[in-house]
Symmetry: C2
Subunit: 141 residues, 2 copies
Amino acid sequence: MAQHNCIFCAIVAGAAPASVIHDDAATLAFLDINPVTPGHLLVIPKRHASTLANPDPADGARLFVVAMQAAAALRSSGLRCEGVNFFLADGEAAGQEVFHVHLHVFPRFAGDGFRIVEGGIAHPSRADLDAIASRLRAALP
Amino acid sequence: MAQHNCIFCAIVAGAAPASVIHDDAATLAFLDINPVTPGHLLVIPKRHASTLANPDPADGARLFVVAMQAAAALRSSGLRCEGVNFFLADGEAAGQEVFHVHLHVFPRFAGDGFRIVEGGIAHPSRADLDAIASRLRAALP
């Protein structure tokens, strides 16, 4: 199941170091070594899945439940945490760097320096949105 | 169950317009009216939950599964989509604006103008990370 040369598979196997906060049959949660803010975590499926096209839906569902628990832990830990973001990058164009699915969970606080810059697209009309929705409904698995 | 003056509860009730792509017993997915990129979706639990402290874990799990399906639809829809991001803001300090839990799912492509700016914190030592992990393990629900 483990993927050769995958750093997250190595962490799951205990062959690479990690500061683990949660470990169950399907899921591991550990601290990011390049944190946005102190307490920044990654939640991963133990089974290797390079992108979102791969994981079992049950593994995906479990990621979110563990991330919710991690968010609650961040809020009650005493670490600076006035809010929490979840972020996932699927594919290189989305900023994915490690090709083993991972959900980022990180604390936010006033003045933490994190911000999002958007390209800025024209405000779509309802007709535009309905046309896109129609294409997406047809494309749903 | 619906929250007075909650725009997402109004959408769930059919009392406010939305361009819906998925509708099941627990979950609704519809297009964001202020998209980062064309195809930007929000996936919400139908039951009102203002923040992540509130939803049933099963509702949270279902959000992620629907978001995975939405990501697959974005990739096969013909819309410009070279990657996908998931983003969730929990709390005002994290950028939450509508206080009904919602998971953003949006397509990414080269030159889309979206980027993240980080505050930049000192690279933590393994001892620093282990100390934080210890606090978080103790704080897990």
